[in-house]
Amino acid sequence: MATNDVSPQDPVTNPGKNWMIDPKTGELRVLAPGQTFRSVTEKIARIVLTSQTPLGWLFGFVMAGGLIAMLLTAVAWLFLKGTGIWAITMPVAWGFAIVNFVWWIGIGHAGTLISAILLLFKQGWRNSINRFAEAMTLFAVVCAGMFPIIHTGRPWLAIYWLFPYPNTMNVWPQFRSPLMWDVFAVSTYATISVVFWYIGLIPDLGTMRDQAKSKFAKYIYGQMSLGWRGSARHWMRYESASLLLAGLATPLVLSVHTVISFDFAVAVLPGWHTTIFPPYFVAGAIYSGFAMVLTLAIPIRKFYGLEDIITMRHLDNMAKVMLATGSIVAYGYGMEVVMAWYSASRWEYFMFWNRMFGPMGWAYWVLIACNIVTPLTTLWSRKLRQNIAYLFAISLIVNTGMWFERFVIVVTSLYRDFLPSSWGTYRATRWDYMTYVGTLGLFTFLFFLFIRLLPMIPMSEIRMMLPQAKVKHEAELQTEAGD
């Protein structure tokens, strides 16, 4: 337990094994009963404002910092030697860089879905997880955004290669290329995500300013809260800004990964050129993103004792979203196989046969085992969805599976092309691995900073979900906070 417990003022009368179940509906509660405005605020704010940094946090932070050192080494060597240190060559000219880019961007999508789409769908349960899911989005975009820049080998020229600007040579990027659209899609996505996240933080920054004891913290949070006083007018503007930004962010959940799927689908290569790619990439992105939210949420709620706020209901709902999006992904895999046969094209057929049974076929079966067989056969069970250790394991398995999905799409479509004399293979080098693992470190590092410096759960939104926050006759109807 990293922080001291704040005991709720209203003790639960029956703390038996089913106290998280609402007796009237038989459903799991969104929040544990007995919370007050004060207990919520103190519990969340204390994680940040405590002067005693937990040892576990320090340990993780230092470890992640070590991985960043590895990332810097790998990238420095890349800039000195060029992309030749990676495994890419003909015919596999796209390797880890694009695989990692797509994987990271995909992970980010769950954050936007939770913060934007679930807000528009009036899903109250999202409040507990939306702040750190959105932070996850930002850091995942940072990791993803690195790859297009470093894969040029000369990042000081990347702006000229990637971004269209009027130059004396009158040379422009190819506007019909989805790689060009990616530049706009990802930068728009990053911008909206940052703004949305920050706007959402403002009321909590005000709370932090008021709760902070040290002068420095008061000053910093005070500056960041942009003069938030919590007046009715502030709240009104805050609510409309949130809704407008949610409206802006919603199409981005679909568009960003759609454009990324076009990177492959507009080519005429079997295995890439298939019309199901846009929806199937989007579903896969959300699938992997929710897996990552679970990977983060499960240890965090345990470590900081947040089980009352990030409850079984959240874990269960996230598992359900994974079941739904995973099924769409499975449908996509199925249609790829069916159409490889139905197309009556020998190239399509060979590509798929080779993907399944060729020398790199193992990667395909790893992907099927991780993404389809393990999660989609078991997540139907309510019992397993509410088994925390199992969910954590599944979240890691799905993250692995989704990484392999991109690996399979990129590599197994390329390594045996139309001309057998040019067939090759792909073996990642140590620099590839160091860069990839390094971004995992960068992500963890940023995430650790975030949970130490900012409230990871939106206090204001949780307070609004408590029965006390409702108008009286509404509160009477309300049996379950947040519904």
Binding site: T25, G26, E27, R176, L254, T258, F262, A265, V266, A267, V268, H273, T274, T275, I276, F277, P278, P279, S327, Y331, G332, G334, M335, E336, V338, M339, Y342, S343, A344, S345, W380, H473, E476, L477
Partner: protein, 429 residues
Amino acid sequence: MSNEHGHHAKHLPADLSAPASVARWRNRALLVALVFALLAAADFYLHPSDLSLDYVLRGWLMGLIVCFSFAVGGMALLMVQHVSGGKWGLLIRRPLEAMSRTLPLVFLMFLPVAICVKRLYLWARISNPEEALHAGIINAIQAHAIAYKRPFLNIEGFWIRGIAYFAIWGTFIFILNRWSRQRDTDTQHGNWYWQKRFENLSGAGLLIYSITLTGASIDWVMSLDPTWYSSVYGLLFLVAQGYAALAMVILITLALSQDEPLKSIFRTTEQHDLGKLCFAFVMLNIYIAFSQYLIIWSGNLPEEIRWYMDRITGGWGYVIGLDFAFHWLLPFTLLLSRDIKRNKRRLAAVCCIMLFARFLDTFWLIAPNFADIHHNFHFSAELLQYIFVPAAMTGLWVAYMTHQLRQRPVVAINDPHLSEILEPEHAHA
């Protein structure tokens, strides 16, 4: 149920059966069906040609696909609202159930297509692709595709799969409707018991629905051109089906809401939600349709692009232009407005536009597959069968649906959302 909460909550009327106006709709729908059937017969006999019967069948296939969308799409939306929960689902539940119970009629409509499969489908007509190629009836690509796909595209397979699809959908529709009736009178179990039961059935049902629907869409429509393929086709068909069924169920619900008993549970809040759902379907449909087009356009592979060339050149540009306007441009622009979503007459008008778009799109998917009209959209007396036959079939479908609507109370009770939906609306909602 609503008494305990006091405050201005409305009460359900004692009589929950469908209002008398439903019988009038049935008579009008039958009249429409009769008029268009007579027009179709007149067209058939007054302009005899080699292709007269073919055009009747093509129109029939279009009518089948539209009515099938209402019935099976209705079932899918029914499952979606059971899985997702929400007050809007309670509002449209009984109309959706009535739509789903028209499946037997749709099966009867399927029989002529199954019997005349050789007249409609090139792959069924050609028994020996090699000979047909030498005789110049088909080209080399078609000959290869037909020979290659024979294990899947054969007449027996078409029948067996068709019957299997109907059996599967029929089973789900039967259970969903039966449970719904039991739930109304059940006092033993709590309403959450039923909620879970429906949830479990519908979750698995949606999965099976998406697989069977994909199969049906390939069998019945995509295989009209045996050479063409697109891996997103089934999903696009599925979204289009939801689009049609949603527009239809909103129209039915808006009409029912004029009278009791639906009047007392109908609130603008839920109407607004349904309007937003329409907007989501409008966007999802154009998203998938446009992605498919963009991918095939930029690949520009001869085996794929021809399907679009058949459908956008030689006069078809006007049809796809109208399709785009009615499918996306108009409903998108209109549904952006909050006032339109909250006004009964205006939302009904948008739903009519959406339904018209589905007719037009189905026409655009089916008609250009046939050699006498692809690349060359022109008016002929036979072409009118694409209006007469589907209109007659839809009239008949509506009449049967209204008959089904009258069989049960139009408000489902014993639902946890019922007391919520009887609450007064919030001014800010």
